[in-house]
């Protein structure tokens, strides 16, 4: 085989092999994390501490972004409706449904991926690079159990909480703009007629899926950091992209499956 | 000729330099020594404007440079080069591109001409054969030699070395010491070396100045330093664990 051909094959092969090894490593890490949780090897106090770090610190960040998004989407939809048929009775209902099914979990997921994903990768990455993870292993503290499990549980729980906070802030912002811009009374805006168990289940599934995927993907980026501060930088960047991308892909998969299976 | 006159510098509550006065004669190799955190690197960074003193004056080649602006310091840095402790080569460029960078930026040389001049400097430090390698491919000792070559591209009259042999194995350290020694003979460059490597201090220094608790404790030839009976100086230069020295 000529060297050029082998070079081309290698060029194609390398990313594929790399992606496969990455997927296998990630699957292994998911398994280890859930086995550790199943075996109850969980330090409650640390989980609560991580909840504070993950949740509390992200509340203002999620609240602002979701409020802005709520403002924008109501403003856009309302201006469209005004041009077609100026009947705003269903404005609030449609908004609530879209927020619960789609925007609140996904945008909150992206924010948590950005903030918490890069945070976990940065922290664990710098612990690997300064050999703290090796020090843990010398004292029989498994890094996955000791570092990743508390963060995973905290992120999953907080993801649900933050989505709810997100929905509340978006709704408040939406209500205000609806009244001031298009004089839609709070009462008409706040109608939950369209909302049913299916929407809540869909939104909840998405939030939980993101909450579990983000810390484990970020944790893997952190645990595989190599080579001083440059390594930590790479791990953090890789985590932000991988977790954000995972949120978007999961959103598509869950929405697609629910549409095909449940028809809604 | 370089003069530090009564330099004071503190970082928040921690006073690092408490009235340091020191002269450096042209053409000599002066070693500034002291324990970690004594302020050796802090003092020399004032010379090229990376730090500004809280009070005191600095003169370089007879001109006062204490309060020059960042932009005005560029002229000073053309005269006075610095080699940092972790060799600071740019990872994205090959070794010869690293050394050619100052030529490209200051003398607007075409890439080919800059490469030629850079290869000559690499030859000076015995690294010409590795010209097209990346910094990542070579060990710390060799990186240090390329960093020295890069600092020499501006043909400075003063060169500052910040702990050039720290972290190097004895062989690589000896080669860097030889390089500093040969610099003085071949080019008559004045070198200021910050170090606490006893082997290289007594192997290369023309003169030694020791900083202890923010002040110059001694400033003299290696022989004078060895003869000193001051207990702190004796403890430091023999590297003894027990003694009056407070760290």
């Amino acid at each position: 085989m000529t060297s050029a051909a082998s070079r081309v094959l290698a060029g194609v092969g390398r990313p594929v092999v790399g992606a496969w090894r990455e997927a296998r490593g990630l699957a292994g890490l998911f398994l280890d994390t859930f086995v550790a949780v199943a075996r109850g090897r969980v330090r409650g106090r640390e989980v609560v501490h991580q909840m504070y770090l993950v949740g509390n610190k992200s509340v203002p960040f999620v609240a602002i972004t979701l409020a802005v998004l709520g403002l924008i989407s109501v403003f856009q939809v309302a201006t469209q409706i005004k041009q077609v048929i100026p009947d705003f009775t269903m404005l609030g209902a449609a908004f609530m449904q879209m927020m619960v099914r789609e925007f609140a979990p996904t945008i909150t997921g992206l924010m948590v991926a950005t903030r918490v994903g890069s945070g976990i990768a940065a922290e664990i990455g710098s612990m690997v690079v300064t050999e703290q993870v090796d020090a843990l292993r010398m004292s029989n503290a498994d890094p996955v159990e000791y570092l990743l499990v508390p963060r995973t549980i905290a992120a999953a729980v907080m993801m649900l909480m933050l989505t709810i906070v997100g929905i509340i802030c978006a709704t408040i912002a939406g209500m205000l703009i609806a009244r001031s811009g298009f004089d839609v009374s709070f009462k008409t805006f706040l109608n939950f007629q369209l909302l049913d168990a299916g929407d809540l289940a869909l939104g909840g599934t998405k939030a939980l899926a993101y909450g579990l995927a983000i810390p484990v993907i970020a944790g893997r980026a952190g645990l595989t950091a190599r080579g001083g501060s440059a390594g930590v930088g790479r791990a953090t960047t890789q985590a932000v992209v991988a977790t954000s991308f995972a949120v978007i892909v999961l959103d598509f998969v869950i929405s697609g499956v629910s549409y095909v299976v449940f028809g809604q | 000729m370089i003069r530090f006159i009564d330099i004071h510098k503190a970082f928040g509550a921690r006073t690092v330099l408490d009235g340091v006065s020191l002269d450096v004669d042209t053409g000599e190799v002066l070693y500034i020594v002291g324990n970690s955190g004594a302020g050796k690197s802090v003092l020399v960074k004032h010379l090229i404007g990376l730090l500004r003193p809280d009070s005191g004056r600095i003169e370089l080649g007879g001109k006062e440079i204490t309060w020059l602006t960042e932009h005005e310091f560029y002229a000073v840095r053309m005269q006075c080069a610095m080699v940092f402790q972790n060799s600071t080569l740019f990872d994205a460029m090959t070794l010869v591109e690293n050394v050619a960078l100052p030529y490209r930026k200051h003398f607007a040389l075409k890439p080919a001409a800059a490469r030629e001049r850079a290869l000559a400097k690499l030859d000076l430090v015995g690294m010409r054969s590795a010209a097209d390698w990346l910094p990542g491919d070579i060990g710390d000792g060799l990186k240090k030699r390329v960093a020295i070559a890069r600092a020499l591209t501006l043909d400075p009259s003063y060169v500052i070395f910040d702990e050039p042999t720290t972290g190097l194995d004895p062989l690589a350290a000896a080669q860097v010491d030889d390089l500093i020694r040969s610099l003085k003979h071949d080019t008559g460059v004045t070198s200021i070396v910050v170090s606490h490597d006893l082997r290289s201090i007594f192997g290369v220094a023309d003169r030694i100045a020791m900083i202890y608790q923010g002040k110059i404790l001694i400033d003299g030839t290696p022989a004078e330093v060895r003869a000193s009976r001051d207990p702190i100086i004796d403890q430091f230069f023999n590297g003894r664990a027990d003694g009056p020295m407070k760290i």
């Binding site: 960040f61 950005t114 992209v241 | 600071t88």
Partner: protein, 260 residues
């Protein structure tokens, strides 16, 4: 009492941090603009950054846009199925993708891919004294490191926005054809005739402002790193958060200006 004062202190701290970041980034923007007129920056490094920024983010932006288009179709599919208004599909999808969701999601992915990387790279250079080495070689770090990255990010995000819009349409067309049975040619024709040029231009203008913000913020955090590996990690984290906040703020401001 300490809990309450602690709470207010943390709010005060958050506001102060926000202002310090905003101030720092604006100062940096000022210095960058001053060195653009007359243009005094390293051309070689600019080309390298254009390639570095563009190549690294093109695939991720394209794939993100593909999914954004698909999600938008899925989102309105439920609505369209109930009301049967398939003709509205093209307009609805096109509008949200070009004007709103497209710029935000592509901006976020770009901020993650390039912004975070920029802060990490600059942070590492500061921590390993490479920035001081530049100054010691009498080379101005702003003109050699910062301005090339500013130009690369601003230009590339603008171009990538257009690329993203194309991929989003492709994603939407594919999904609508596969899931809704609405032939993709219909969707595309419908989209073209809904005259969404204004929205497309607004999306691109948003992308340019995002590019400016992301470059200044990520460079600001990169240059202000202290404290080794942990410092680089923390700066990268803060940079990504600040970029995301800036994207949402700017999205609202540009959207509001356009609606005047």
């Amino acid at each position: 009492m300490s809990a309450v004062s602690g709470f207010f202190a943390s709010i005060g701290q958050a506001v102060l941090n926000l202002l310090r970041t905003f101030g720092g980034a604006c100062l940096l923007l000022g210095r960058v603009i001053r060195s653009l007129f007359p243009p005094r920056f390293d051309v070689h490094e600019t080309w390298r950054q254009l390639y570095h920024v563009g190549v690294r983010s093109a695939p991720i932006v394209a794939v993100t846009a593909l999914f954004v288009g698909a999600i938008m179709v899925l989102q309105s599919a439920y609505f369209v199925k109930r009301t049967g208004a398939t003709s509205l599909l093209g307009y609805g999808v096109g509008f949200t993708v070009f004007a709103e969701v497209g710029p935000i999601l592509i901006g976020l992915m770009f901020s993650g891919r390039v912004g975070a990387n920029n802060t990490a790279e600059l942070g590492t250079m500061v921590v390993t004294e490479q920035v001081d080495a530049l100054r010691a070689l009498a080379i101005d770090p702003l003109r050699y490191l910062i301005v090339p990255r500013f130009i690369a990010m601003m230009l590339m995000l603008t171009l990538l926005m257009v690329l993203g819009d194309l991929f989003a349409i492709a994603g939407a067309a594919l999904t609508s054809d596969a899931l809704l049975g609405v032939d993709w040619r219909v969707l595309v024709a419908n989209l073209i005739e809904s005259k969404l040029l204004d929205e497309l231009v607004m999306g691109v203008v948003k992308a340019t402002t995002f590019g400016v913000a992301i470059s200044c913020i990520s460079c600001y955090f990169g240059l202000s790193v202290t404290g080794g590996a942990l410092g680089v990690g923390r700066a990268t984290n803060n940079s990504v958060v600040a970029n995301a906040t800036a994207i949402f703020m700017l999205d609202f401001v540009v959207g509001w200006i356009y609606s005047l």
